[in-house]
Structures are given as C-alpha cells and as structure tokens.
C-alpha cells in the first residue's frame, strides 16, 4: 500500500473532497498552497486573524447550502471562536428544530512536545465532548485521518478533527481510492488478553510500544484506539475490558474531566463490564498543569510508553496481589 505522512493524508482528504463537491470551500488564516493552486482564491480563502468571525462564517455558509472546511491551525486559536462553536455551530440544528443541516468541518492541531509552552500546547478535546451537537475525530494514523476526514466532510453536522501535532511527519500506509471510515468505530490496533489500553492519537503509538515491551514480559496488552470521541464506540471498549478485566487509559491531555475520565465512567457504569473488572481503572495522562517550555519540564509532564508500561505492570501486580 502507498505510504504517506499524517499531514499529507489530511491534505489529500481535503483535496479529494473539494474535488468531489463544489459546495466545499476552505477558510484559514493561511491559504495552504496545494489547495490554493488547485481551487483558487475564491474557494481557498486566507482570512484575517478573526477566528470567531471565520467560524461563524462557516456556520452561516453551511446553513446556506455550502460545506465549509475551516482550519483553525492550533486548537489554541479556537478559543477565541468558542461562542461560535458552543452556542452556534453545536446548537443551531437542534434549536431551530432541524430545519436545515449545517455541514462543516473544523481542523485543529492538538498536543505538545513542540516546546511551545502553555498556550500552544494543549489537548482540550474533552471540553468539546461536553457540548452536545459536535462530532469529534481524534485519529492516530495517516489512514485513519484520511478516512475519517473524508467522512467528516460528507457528514451533515459540525465535525471537529483534532489532529496530533506530534504525528504530522508519521508515515503510514493509506488505501488507494475513495477511502472513508465511518465515525464511531474504534479500531483494535493490537489484540491482547491481559489488559486493555485505550489510547488516543499520539499515545496509540506509545501504547503500542509499551505493549511490545510488555509482551517480552509475558503480558498481553490490547490497544484500542477509539478514533472518534463523538460518537464514541463504547461497545468496543467495554467488550475489550470484559475480555481482559483491566483498563488503562492513556491521554496526552490532563486527567481532570478529560476524555480519560469519560472512558473510565463509561466502563465502570456498565454492570457487566464493571463485574468483569479485576483492578481499578488507571489513567495515564499528562500532569494537570499548563504545559511548560523547557524540554525537561515538558517531557516530565507528558505520559509516554514507559509510564504506560509501568502503569500496566503496577495494575497487574496489584490485581494479582488483591
């Protein structure tokens, strides 16, 4: 299969969908050269730095029959547009009784590791999960990003694609042709029997590395990648935990009211899965602090393969002890 980077996969998805549907157009504070070259400045607009307006413009254009694609660049720039996301995009279909649809896609980079400090390093996807009316992607591979993003552009709802800044250069196979992936289907990235690791985006790869290390110790870890946060494939996660009896959630965001908390709650509130749990759920997340600049500080804050593997070991030894 063809191998391309995560970043290229995102661009390809947009290029293909813009070719497919003339009602799509692109807004961002920069006009990405490949899009501009192919579709011109009418459909590929470099906007003033006014994310609140450009997000609202997407809402209005969507309600007028278009399918806008907005790239906020860093998720941090989306906070100035929060009213348009939370109060307008997410609620407008519902509060107007479903009169028309509002198809729109927002892309935003999340995560850290770039030494850009607190404002430019964040992973606030759980804030958007809390808002009813938004679909949310969080892909971990080029193929997933491309397939989910293409589906998102065709979806009739606001969809936010959170894309890991750390994965931009990651190379991976991407199927040829019109590759789409339905929203709400988790992907078991590695099968296992002793412990379920639910991981998001960059941490999927760290979890896979941890699983590899654990395998050498005779521990069989299953790595489940939910791929989308809304809709969330709760069945797949619960099924895995019912099989393994152990759940570790790995997230680049801080734990407090994070996606990791939601996964823990979804698992422990299901009677059958709860009954199958043989150890406390464990969250391996960023420390609950703003992200610092200096490399040693930043690395200390984030979870990684080592912390995941240690977490699994502690969990399994604890479980055996209990």
């Amino acid at each position: 299969m063809r191998e391309i980077t995560y970043e290229q996969a995102g661009t390809e998805a947009i290029l293909e969908e813009m070719r497919r549907d003339p009602r799509t157009f692109h807004l961002a504070t920069d006009a990405p050269p490949p899009l501009l070259a192919e579709f011109g400045p009418q459909r590929v607009r470099a906007t003033p730095i006014a994310e609140s307006a450009l997000t609202g413009i997407a809402v209005g254009a969507a309600g007028s029959g278009f399918r806008p694609i907005v790239n906020w660049s860093q998720v941090t720039f989306a906070f100035v547009a929060m009213d348009q996301i939370v109060n307008q995009a997410a609620k407008i279909h519902y509060m107007f009784g479903g009169q028309v649809t509002f198809p729109m896609v927002f892309r935003a980079q999340v995560g850290g590791g770039t030494r850009r400090a607190a404002q430019h390093s964040q992973s606030p996807y759980s804030m958007f999960m809390n808002v009813a009316g938004l679909k949310i992607l969080l892909p971990s591979t080029p193929a997933d990003l491309k397939g989910l993003l293409k589906t998102a552009v065709r979806d009739d709802n606001p969809v936010i694609s959170f894309e890991s800044g750390r994965l931009g250069g990651l190379v991976g196979p991407v199927p040829d042709g019109d590759h789409t992936i339905p929203l709400g289907k988790a992907d078991v990235k590695r099968a296992g029997t002793d412990v379920t690791i639910v991981a998001f985006a960059w941490l999927v790869h760290e979890a896979l590395a941890a699983a590899e290390a654990l395998a050498a110790e005779g521990i069989s870890a299953e790595v489940v990648d939910p791929r989308t946060l809304v809709p969330f494939d709760v069945d797949a996660v619960r099924a895995s935990v019912r099989k393994t009896g152990h759940l570790l959630v790995a997230d680049e965001a801080g734990p407090t009211a994070g996606a990791s908390a939601e996964v823990a709650a979804l698992v422990t509130e299901d009677p059958e899965t709860f009954a199958a749990l043989r150890a406390p759920v464990r969250r391996v997340c960023a420390l609950q602090v703003p992200i610092p600049y200096s490399p040693g500080l930043e690395d200390h804050v984030f979870p990684d393969r080592r912390k995941i593997a240690d977490g699994v070991r502690a969990m399994l030894s604890g479980a055996r002890a209990a």
Binding site: S52, I57, A61, H93, V100
Partner: protein
C-alpha cells in the same frame, strides 16, 4: 431618495402594525404564562425591520437578535408557526425547541434570532460569502443593536466583509440602550456608522422611526451590495417603548420624558399620517379594517398555537444531529 409606491407603503404599514399587534399579544400571553422563558419586545422599532426588509427579495437572507419577532414578520414569516413556537408547540418553527430567542425560517432566508449579542453577525456574513460564491446577486443583512456594535464579532465581520466586498448590509438598530446601559456610556462616538470609514465602506445614519427613510437607505445599500461593491453600515436611530424584556418588574431607569418623546415619533403613526395626508391613499376606514384584519390574524395564530400539541418529551432527543 426612491419613493415607494402607495401599495408598498400600505404593505409596510400593514407589516409594522402586524409586528406591533404581535408583540402586544406576545407580552400579554407571556404574562399570562402561556409563553415561557423570555420575550423581548420590538415595539417602537418596527420601521427598521420593515423598511429594510421591504428593500429585499425573498431569496435574500437576514439574521436577527434576541429581539427577533419583528425581523421574522418583516421577512415574511408565518404568524401561526411563530406563535406556536412561542407557545412551545410541536407545530412551531423550531418544534418547540427554540422559543422566542431562536425563531428561524430558512425557507424565507430568516437565519434566526440569536440569544448571544453579536453572535449572529458572523453567521449572516457567512450567508454573504455564500451569496458571493454563488454569484447570483443575493444579499445578506445583519440586524444588531448598539450594544452589539461594541462586541468583537461585529468588528471582525465587518472588516472581512469590507476586505472581501461581500454583499452585506450591517443594520445597527441604535435604540440608545443595551439593557440599562446608555449607548452614550459605551461608545465615545455617538454614531456607530462613523466606524465605517475605518473599514473603507459607507456608513449611513437614518431616522429609524421613518420607514420611508430606512427603506430608501436600505435600497441604496442593497443596490451597492448586489453590484458587487461591498458592504454598508446602516445605522437606524430608534427607541424601544417597553423595558428590555417582558419579565415582570424588569427595572427600567430610562427617563419618563425621554420615553414619552420617542412615543411621539411613533413610526406607525407617522406612516399613517403620511398616507392619509396623501389624498386617497389610506382612509381611516381602510386603516381600521387593516388593523382589524391584523388582529384577526394574530387571534388565529393564537388559536392555532393553542390547538397544537406540545412536542412529545422524547422528541427532546431528536435533532441533536442530522442523520
């Protein structure tokens, strides 16, 4: 200044009076407990919505504010579905999910009332961008208050519309107050329209209680927008007669003589007088008959609302996502 035909003037009168009667009824029924939540009355400002919308075509789009009933009616919304929405019924525009602050009718290009001050301005600017991309000469209109003009989305939107020459009209309904706060304390400059020059676009101030003046200014702005020459800020000086909302005991610290003086400038009375002064264009009987028909239509809308079922509780789970 283009002079609208007597027919169009009578139609504008009919619309203004419909708004007024609708608002009177909405206030009464809110107090009676048949309408819930919050109602913001447009009484006194009718000439703005009507004068502007009379300059528009059905395909043109508008967006409204928390004070949205007048814009709906002026754009041609169905009174029955409006009243049913206020009554929280399944037959309402939003199936009872929206209420007063969220009435919309996308069929007629009414993109909704909005509970967030200035929240609608970027959205309708997106409709303006859609119009430009389509290239068929549609225009889009933002209605917003003096208070909204101090919010960031106003600035961001007008600047983009100016830079991109979007077919937009930004209609500021300057009723001199934002809740209790006088515009004079929130703006160092009395005219919101004076900001237009900084964006390189025209800024026009009109008497917002003179529907013919509003209509003329709007017609010019629409022509400019349709021609591809970009947006206009159209500021209409007007006044609301009632308190900010219909909530009982809503404080209202505006001077009584100020309110009384503005009531003298009643936009409806002025148009009636104008038409009557022009021999044969509106007899007192015709005016009484027009009002009676309007009252009957409002009565019908209430009957329609009352006869309509409430939505089933379970329907609260519908329309979160389009399938």
């Amino acid at each position: 200044m283009s002079t609208p035909s007597p027919e169009l003037q009578r139609e504008m009168l009919r619309q203004m009076q419909t708004i007024r009667r609708f608002e009177e009824r909405a206030s009464d029924d809110f107090r009676a407990g048949d309408i819930y939540g919050v109602v913001h009355s447009y009484i006194g400002e009718e000439a703005v919505a009507v004068g502007v919308c009379a300059a528009l075509e059905r395909r043109d789009q508008i967006i409204s504010t928390h004070r949205g009933h007048g814009h709906c009616i002026a754009k041609g919304a169905d009174l029955n579905r409006m009243m049913a929405e206020l009554y929280g019924r399944a037959t309402g525009y939003c199936k009872g999910k929206g209420g007063s602050m969220h009435i919309a009718d996308f069929e007629i290009g009414m993109l909704g009332a909005n509970g967030i001050v200035a929240g609608g301005i970027p959205i309708v600017t997106g409709a303006g961008l859609a119009a430009q991309l389509e290239g068929e000469g549609r225009v889009a209109v933002a209605f917003f208050g003096d208070g909204a003009s101090n919010a960031g989305p106003f600035h961001e939107s007008v600047n983009i519309a100016a830079a991109w020459k979007l077919p937009m009209i930004y209609v500021c309904e300057n009723n001199l107050y934002a809740v209790q706060t006088p515009a004079a304390k929130s703006l160092a400059q009395p005219d919101v329209a004076s900001r237009a020059a900084g964006y390189g676009i025209p800024g026009v101030v009109v008497d917002g209680n003179d529907v013919l003046a509003v209509h003329a200014a709007a017609t010019a702005a629409v022509a400019r927008a349709r021609a591809g020459d970009g947006p206009t800020i159209l500021e209409c000086k007007t006044y609301r007669w009632r308190a900010h909302t219909e909530r009982p005991n809503q404080p209202d610290s505006r001077p009584a003589d100020e309110i009384a003086a503005w009531k003298q400038k009643d936009p409806i009375g002025r148009l009636v007088a104008h038409l009557q002064a022009q021999q044969g264009q509106l007899t007192e009987d015709e005016w009484q008959a027009m009002d009676a028909a309007i009252l009957a239509a409002i009565e019908d809308s209430v009957a329609f609302a009352k006869a309509s079922p409430f939505p089933t509780p379970e329907s609260a789970l519908e329309d979160v996502f389009a399938d």
